[in-house]
């Protein structure tokens, strides 16, 4: 069975988005994909944009969530990191070599056509609305993975969401066992905890 491969997650890193971020990480690992993020290496010698470009180059797939492209309450200016990183991803696909040209991605926003008011050039891409809801986010990611890998059997979105909720209910205890609060887990900590949780999970039926 073909490996799903690396998936670059382009999303906000603030506390409000944490539950969505955990849902993305959980869903990707559950489906056998490897989540990649700018948070994975804390190397002060590598500039952020360089790190993002490197990870995009290494990832055949991307998840771009534009739902937090809002004006900052303090400055009144929009947060534009996510559209910028989406642009880098699309640029790599357009201008890159054969390996880059097969890139695929999924773009999320809160509402389906909101992006047209701030980034209309991406019209024509498949933009999905997640309505700030983890179940919809998980379903969208799962369905995209299935489209990218039609040969692969994947668990259904409902099952993944149930398992994700079970995991988040246990997360405070899991974090406490390693002497941390859930919000203190780094991206790499979260990946390991989810992976170990899933490795000991009882297999269930998965749908094609």
């Amino acid at each position: 069975m073909a490996k799903v491969g690396d998936v670059f997650i382009n999303c906000p890193f603030d506390e409000d988005y944490q539950r969505h971020f955990r849902a993305l990480v959980f869903c990707l690992l559950y489906c056998g994909a490897r989540p990649r993020s700018a948070l994975e290496v804390d190397d002060g010698s590598e500039v952020r944009i360089g790190k993002v470009i490197r990870i995009i180059g290494e990832s055949p797939y991307g998840i771009h969530d534009l739902s937090r492209t809002d004006p900052d309450p303090a400055s009144g200016l929009p947060r534009f990191n996510m559209p910028l990183e989406l642009g880098l991803f699309l640029g790599a696909k357009h201008f890159g070599g054969p390996r880059q040209r097969v890139k695929a991605c999924i773009i999320f926003d809160r509402e389906r056509y909101r992006y047209q008011r701030f980034c209309s050039d991406i019209a024509g891409q498949d933009i999905r609305a997640h309505g700030d809801n983890e179940a919809q986010l998980i379903r969208g990611v799962r369905d995209a993975l299935r489209t990218w890998h039609p040969d692969r059997e994947l668990p259904g979105g409902g099952l993944i969401h149930r398992r994700y909720r079970e995991f988040t209910e246990h997360l405070p205890r899991l974090a406490a066992e390693v002497g941390l609060e859930p919000q203190e887990l780094t991206f790499r900590d979260l990946l390991t905890m989810v992976a170990e949780w899933l490795r000991t999970d009882a297999p269930e039926s998965v749908s094609p």
Partner: protein
């Protein structure tokens, strides 16, 4: 009822965790799962105990 299919393989992670070892994470997961299992069993025993007690009373 759908047929049982292969469980997706969890990929090898690109980096180790930051604040603990993989072994510590594994131990944490196993401990929490074991505590859950014991709690479920205890709850089951309590339920069946209550049922037996109720049956005993109705027989009296």
């Amino acid at each position: 009822m759908p047929a049982k299919r292969a469980f997706p393989e969890i990929p090898t992670l690109p980096y180790p965790p930051t604040n603990f070892t993989i072994e510590e994470a594994r131990r944490a997961v196993l401990k929490v799962r074991e505590e859950d299992r014991l709690a479920r069993e205890a709850a089951k025993r309590t339920r069946s105990g209550k049922r037996d007690h109720a049956k005993g009373r109705s027989a009296e």
